[in-house]
């Protein structure tokens, strides 16, 4: 398959940019309460940082950072966080996804408990979206043959 191009500039810029992109992604996720943004947007940005990694270096480099197994686990993890919060609400005697019941385990009043719950699920969504974006990108970009790198 095509050998990844050893371009110093791209790699350096990538190496510098990726941390900022990821921090920004985290910011977008957590700051979804006060500004446009939230789990999806932030998750996509995080995913994009990995995709930049794949483009600048090559796919194996990216998979050294996050293997398929970890990636798949992250896919599920985010959703398990999300639906888990719902189940916790269920256990705490509310209806499903009724975050205000979380005040029983969090040191806040029911109103802020909702805000907390929202933050929790935004994080879950963020994780899943990031992992899914990476996974889909890898599969599509490498036609599923990961070993042979990008095209």
């Amino acid at each position: 398959m095509i050998s990844h191009l050893e371009d110093v500039i791209v790699q350096t810029v990538g190496r510098i940019l990726i941390p900022f992109i990821q921090v920004y992604g985290l910011y977008v996720i957590t700051h979804g309460h006060h500004s446009p943004g939230g789990g999806f947007q932030g998750g996509v940005i995080l995913g994009a940082s990995f995709i930049l990694l794949c483009v600048a270096y090559d796919i194996n480099e990216a998979k050294r950072r996050m293997t398929e197994k970890v990636d798949t686990v992250f896919c599920s993890l985010g959703l398990i966080i999300y639906s888990g919060i719902g189940v916790i609400c269920l256990v705490l005697g509310g209806s499903y996804l009724n975050y205000s019941k979380l005040y029983r385990i969090l040191p806040v009043n029911p109103i802020d408990a909702r805000s907390m719950g929202i933050l929790g699920i935004e994080i879950g969504v963020g994780i899943t979206v990031m992992a899914v974006m990476i996974s889909i990108f890898l599969d599509l970009a490498s036609r599923g043959e990961h070993e042979e790198g990008l095209e």
């Binding site: 006060h34 500004s35 446009p36 999806f40 889909i136 599969d139 599509l140 036609r143 599923g144």
Partner: protein, 125 residues
Amino acid sequence: MEFILTKYHYWIYIVLMMIGFYAMIGKRNLVKKIVGMNIFQTAIILYFISTGAKRGATIPIVEHGQGGAMHAIHAVHYVNPLPHVLMLTAIVVMVSTFGVALALIIMLYRRYKTLEEDEILELRK
């Protein structure tokens, strides 16, 4: 005249939708079909967002954050957030469909080495 000025945006979306729709059922190239699919869905998204618009209203975020609860909030000052929410969902659905579609196309290309519907039908015989 008045009628046209207040309704024409709907027609733009519908024309867009129809372009996409035609690409989906009329074109013989699979990638074009998928592109048409995206145009269709995007047009629907535009339509939904437009239903939430209000003249002279701002984005649905309370100014100066937490303090916002202090003074009263009037519905007319903010655009309708519901369509935005729905469309966030719709966008994600669209992206997912797009991903699966591309995966299918890769499978088809692996198998038939072409993406023209007619040629594939030929090979299937």
